[in-house]
Symmetry: C2
Subunit: 619 residues, 2 copies
C-alpha cells in the first residue's frame, strides 16, 4: 500500500477516500515526476546549504552562530523539501542518497529542537527574546505546520518515527501554549498549522491535536492579529486571514496562499468533525473563487501587492501574480473538497491548475522556477528585481515555491484516484495502477496529447456489482466509451461517467474524450481581457510566444479574426514533446496575414526571452 | 509683481519665462483655490500637530522626546504645508492667522535645526547614529529639498529671510558633505533636492548650489544606492531612480514620483546650463511617458507595487495607482518643459492632468483626499487597509499628497501664462490677469463649462507689434476667433494660436473652443481597456458613478452601442456645479435600454460609495 497526504480517519465524514495504491507509471506526469526525482529534489540539500538554511539549524543545535537569510520562515524550506523527499522515497525506496539526505536533515532538526519542543531557528538563534511575540509576521506556527507535514509524510512513507517524534514534541508544546485559557490566545499570521494538526491527528490518533486545529480555525478571523507588537508593517487583516471567520466570509480574499492553506485546513477539519455549516461555507467560498477570482490557467491571486486575491473579476493577465504556491494550495484544497463532497468539479479545477498554472512554475529542466505565473508578458517587459519576475530563476530569495512544487509532484499519484463503498473513481488521467477498497484498475493513456483512456480491471469484488467512475472534464464537448458486455448505456452524472456492473479481472474498456482545439471567451465582466479569446485543447491552455512566431512579429500587433480555424499538430522534438496549435491571424499595423503558433502554457519561458500572451484580441 | 515657483535666472536658456503677474480672479479654478485657502490650508497645522510632525520638531529643538510617525520623512509634510501657505500668503497678504502659523512653524524649524545646519527630526531624535547612513530609505536630501522649496516660496512671497536662512544653512551643510571628493559621494533614494537647489540658486545666486544640483543629477543612475547598509528591504534600482542616468534612460520607469521629481530637477538644470544633450533626453523621456505610460486622466504610475510606472501600455484602470503626488510631479515637470522649449504640448498635458487625475485627489469639500486615482472601481470593491484606497480619507498615515495638492493649488496661477521677447502666451484658460514683459491681459471665461475665452489687452508695447499666443488644446476639433481690426487670418502654429499685431489697451477678442462631447478610443495596445470608449468634453474626462444611474443598474452590466448620441447638460446644483453627459446604453444581462449619466471624473467619490468607471465597453 502506498500512502500520500490526506488520510481521513475511519470515522471521518469524507464522501470519498484516497486510493490505497496509486502509482503513475508512464506518460506525461511520469516524465515530469522523473525530472522532479532526478533533478529537482536532488538539488535541494545543496540549495538549502547555499542559502544558509542548514547553517541555521546547526547554529540552533550548537547554540552558537548567526542566523542567515532574509525571512523568519527559512526553516520551512527545509521542511517542505523533507516532505517532498519523503513522498519521493516511497516511489524510490532504493535511493540510498535520498534516504541519507533525509536522515541527515532529520537528525539536524532533532538536534536543533529546543528542550521545550520549540523549533524555529530564527527565534532560537537571532531573537530568542521574541519567541511567540510576533504572531503576525513570525511564521512560527506556519513553520511548525510544514515540519509536521514533513514528519507525517516521512512516517507514512517509511514507517519511521524520528521526524514524527520531533513533530509531536513541537505539537505538544504548541498545545500547551495556545488556547483560550492558555498562555497565548491567538493565531499565526500564516495558516498552515491547521491542516498539519489534522494530519498529525490522523497519523497518531491524538484527539487533542484535532481540537487544537479546530481552535486555530475558529479563533481566526476575529481581528486578533496586529502588527503593533511586531517589527513589521501592518498589511491589514485580510493579508493574514484575520478579517472574517471562515464560516462567515462571503468570498476568498487577502493573501492567496494563506487563504487557501487555511481553507484546506478547515476542509480537513470538516472532514473529521462532520461540521455541515463549515462544509457549506467551504463550498460557497470555493464557488466564489472559481466564478470570480480564478484565471483560465487555474492560477489564483491577481495582485502583486500583498500576493492577494483581487476584487471579483479583477484578473489582469499581465500583472497576474498567480503564485506557484497559490496554485499548489488551490490543488490541495480542491482535492480535499473532492474527497469531502465527492463532486467532480473540484477535480476539474485540480486538472486545469495542474496542467497550466501549477506546471508553469517549474522549468522543463526541473531546475528553473517561476514564482509568479502571468498570462501576458509584453515585448518591452521590465523584468525588475526580486523573485517576482516572469523570467525563470534558479532559486529564490524567498524559496517557498521550489520545494512546494517538489512535494506536489512527489505526491501527485495520490490526486488521481479515490474509492468508496461503491467502487473506484478516476479523477485524473495518468497511466498507472490505482486501487481502492476491493478493486484495482490499470490505466493506459497518452493524455493530454491523446483523448483515449484505456481502463483495465485488475481486481474487483467477485460477488457483487462495483462502480467505476470516470470524471468527464467540463471542457469536454463530447465523449464515447466502450463498456464490454454492458447492455444499458453508461449512467452519467454531473461530471462523472459511472459504470456499475459485475467486473472481472481483465475487463477493459476505453473512454475517448474529444480533444478538438477550441477558442475560449472570457466572462464579459473580466475587464482586462475583453474582446479576446484563448486557445485551448483538452486540459491545456495554449499561449503565443515570440520565439514561435514568424520573424519580426510583435504580439502587441496581432489579432485573430473571428472564425479562424485551429490546426493541431504533435511536435515530438519541441519543448520535450508538445502539441502545437496554429491559426491564421492578422497584423493590426498593416492588415497583413500572419501565421500564429501556440504552445502549451505550461511550457512557456523555456527558450529565449520574448513576449507571451494567452488572451488574443479578436478582429 | 507676483512670483511663483520656477523663476529662471536672466541667463537661463528657457524659451519662455513665467508671467510676472498671474492672478486667477474668477471661475472654476478660483473656486477650487478658495476651498484650498479656506478649508485645506487652514487645517494643516492641526493635522500636523495631531500626526506628531510638530512634536518631532519640538523634540529636536529641545533635544529630548521621542519621534512620532511611521516615516523618516515626516518633516516633509511640514515643509510642503509651509510652501503651500507661503504661496497662499501672496494671494491673501492680510491673513493674520496664516501669517502667524507660518511664523510659528518657521521659528520651530529654526529652533530644531542642528548647529551644523542639518535638519531632519527622525535622525536627530530617533537615530542620530544613522545620520547620512541610510541614503536609500533615509529621505534626508528629500526633506532638505522640500525645506528649501518652502523657504524659496516664503522668500518670494514675503521677502523675508527667516526660513531662507534655515534652508541656506542646510544647503551649505549638504554642499560641504556631498560630492565626488567629499565625505559622501552619493545620492538620496528620493529625488527632490535637485529642483530645490536650482531654485535656491535662482533665489540667492550662489553658483555652488547649481553645481551641487548638477552633481546630484549626474551622479544618479549609476547603481550607487543599495539597501545593504540600510534597515529596509531592497526595492531594486529603478525604485529610487538608480537604474540609469537621465541622459541614457530610454523611458520613464520605477517609482513615479521619484522619477518625475528627478526629471523636473534635471529640466531646471538644463534650463540654467543650456545643456542640449540633457534637454534632448528629457524630451525623449516625456514623449515616451505620454505615448505609453499615461492614463487618459493624465495620471501616471500604473502599479501599486513600488508606486511605479508599469511597462509600456500597461495601464489597468482598476488597479491604476496614479498617485495624486505623481500627477502633481507630472504637472511640475511638464510646466518646466513648456518653459524650456516653448512647445504647447507640455501645457496640453498639464491641462489634462489638472482637470482630471490631479483634481480627483482632493474632495470637493477640500477636506478629504485620494492617494490613488483609479479609473474603475467595481461594485464589490474591497477598500482594503491603508492610504491606497479608492475611498476618500480625511488624512493619510503617509501624508504626502494633501500638502502637495495645497501647494499646487496655491501656486496654480503661475502655470497659466508666460512671456518672451515677442509677447505673452496663455497656456491655460482661467479668468484673471496675467502680465509678462511689457504686456498684460485680462481673461474672462466660464471654461471648462463654456468654450468662449475673452481676452482683453490691459497693457502692450505702444510702439511695436506684440504677440498674443493662445494654446489650442489637442482635444479641440474646431475653434473660431475674432481678432479686431486684424485683416489677415491669425497665424497658427502647432498647438499655438499666435496673433501678432499692434495692440492698444482695451483691445478685446474672443476664442471659441468647440466643446462638443466626444467618445475617445484607447490605443489598441492598451490591453486593459480594449473594446471600450471614454466620454470626454473639453479638457474633462467623464465617468459613470453608480449614484447617478437608474436604480439597480450595475456598471459591470452596461455597454454603450456604437453611434450612441451624447447629450450635455449643465447641472448647477450637482457636485458644486458640473456638466453632465448622458447617453443611451444597454444592459448586457437582458439587452434592455438604460440611460447612462456621466459626471466629470474629478468630482467622483464625493457622494455615496459605489462603482465607477471611465472606460465603457462598446456593444
Amino acid at each position: 500500500m502506498t500512502s500520500g497526504p490526506i488520510r481521513p480517519t475511519d470515522g471521518s465524514h469524507t464522501r470519498l477516500r484516497p486510493a490505497t495504491t496509486a502509482r503513475i507509471t508512464d506518460g506525461f506526469w511520469a516524465a515530469r515526476r522523473r525530472t522532479n526525482a532526478d533533478v529537482s529534489i536532488p538539488q535541494g540539500p545543496s540549495r538549502l546549504e547555499e542559502a544558509g538554511n542548514l547553517a541555521n539549524l546547526r547554529a540552533a543545535a550548537e547554540g552558537k552562530g548567526t542566523f542567515t537569510g532574509d525571512f523568519q520562515f527559512q526553516d520551512s524550506d527545509v521542511h517542505k523539501w523533507l516532505e517532498a523527499a519523503s513522498w519521493q522515497l516511497s516511489d524510490s525506496p532504493d535511493s540510498k542518497e535520498l534516504a541519507a539526505h533525509i536522515d541527515e536533515l532529520t537528525a539536524l532538526l532533532a538536534a536543533a529542537q529546543d528542550e521545550s519542543g520549540y523549533l524555529q531557528t530564527y527565534y532560537q538563534v537571532a531573537h530568542p527574546e521574541l519567541r511567540w511575540q510576533e504572531l503576525g509576521w513570525g511564521h512560527e506556527l506556519y513553520c511548525a505546520g510544514h515540519l509536521i507535514q514533513a514528519a507525517v509524510a516521512h512516517h507514512r512513507a517509511t514507517g519511521r518515527r524520528e521526524l514524527l517524534d520531533v513533530a509531536e514534541r513541537f505539537a505538544h508544546h504548541i498545545d500547551a501554549t495556545f488556547g483560550r485559557d492558555k498562555a497565548i490566545d491567538g493565531v499565526c499570521g500564516h495558516p498552515e498549522i491547521e491542516t498539519a494538526l489534522v494530519e498529525l491527528y490522523r497519523e497518531t490518533g491524538e484527539r487533542r491535536l484535532l481540537d487544537l486545529a479546530e481552535y486555530f480555525v475558529e479563533r481566526r478571523g476575529h481581528g486578533v492579529l496586529s502588527a503593533g507588537a511586531d517589527r513589521g508593517h501592518d498589511p491589514g487583516p485580510a493579508y493574514w486571514q484575520d478579517h472574517a471567520p471562515v464560516r462567515e466570509a462571503p468570498t476568498v480574499a487577502g493573501h492567496a496562499v494563506r487563504q487557501l492553506y487555511l481553507l484546506a485546513g478547515a476542509t480537513d477539519l470538516a472532514a473529521e468533525t462532520g461540521d455541515l455549516e463549515l462544509r457549506a461555507a467551504l463550498e460557497r467560498l470555493w464557488d466564489a473563487m472559481v466564478a470570480t477570482k480564478t484565471y483560465l490557467t487555474g492560477g489564483v491571486g491577481a495582485r502583486h501587492e500583498g500576493e492577494a486575491f483581487g476584487d471579483a473579476y479583477e484578473l489582469p493577465p499581465d500583472r497576474a501574480y498567480a503564485e506557484t504556491c497559490a496554485a499548489i494550495a488551490s490543488i490541495q484544497w480542491s482535492w480535499r473538497m473532492a474527497l469531502l463532497t465527492g463532486e467532480a468539479k473540484y477535480s476539474d479545477l485540480v486538472e486545469r491548475t495542474l496542467f497550466n498554472g501549477f506546471l508553469s512554475g517549474v522549468g522543463l529542466d526541473g531546475n528553473s522556477w517561476l514564482y509568479v505565473n502571468p498570462l501576458q508578458v509584453r515585448e518591452e517587459y521590465d523584468a525588475g528585481p526580486g523573485d517576482q519576475t516572469a523570467r525563470r530563476t534558479p532559486w529564490f530569495r524567498c524559496a517557498c515555491c521550489p520545494p512546494n512544487v517538489m512535494r506536489l509532484l512527489a505526491s501527485l499519484p495520490h490526486y488521481v484516484a479515490s474509492g468508496d463503498a461503491e467502487g473506484l473513481q478516476l479523477h485524473q488521467y495518468a497511466s498507472g495502477v490505482y486501487a481502492a477498497g476491493e478493486g484495482a484498475v490499470r490505466v493506459e493513456t497518452a493524455y493530454p496529447w491523446d483523448g483515449r483512456i484505456t481502463v483495465t480491471v485488475e481486481a474487483a469484488p467477485a460477488d457483487r456489482d462495483w462502480s467505476l467512475s470516470l470524471r468527464i472534464p467540463s471542457w469536454c464537448p463530447e465523449f464515447t466509451t466502450t463498456v464490454p458486455g454492458c447492455e444499458p448505456p453508461a449512467e452519467t452524472g454531473v461530471g462523472w461517467l459511472r459504470v456499475r456492473r459485475r467486473w472481472s479481472r481483465g475487463d477493459s474498456f476505453t473512454l475517448d474524450l474529444d480533444l478538438v482545439p477550441r477558442l475560449t471567451r472570457p466572462d464579459p465582466r473580466v475587464d482586462a481581457v475583453r474582446g479576446c479569446v484563448a486557445i485551448e485543447r483538452g486540459p491545456l491552455v495554449h499561449c503565443l510566444e515570440t520565439v514561435d512566431q514568424q520573424p519580426g512579429v510583435r504580439l502587441d500587433d496581432i489579432t485573430l479574426p473571428q472564425g479562424s480555424a485551429l490546426t493541431f499538430t504533435r511536435e515530438r522534438e519541441l519543448l520535450g514533446g508538445v502539441g502545437v496549435i496554429t491559426a491564421d491571424g492578422l497584423r493590426r499595423s498593416d492588415g497583413s496575414d500572419v501565421r500564429l503558433t501556440a504552445v502549451p502554457y505550461y511550457a512557456w519561458a523555456n527558450r529565449r526571452e520574448g513576449a507571451m500572451r494567452v488572451w488574443i484580441p479578436q478582429s
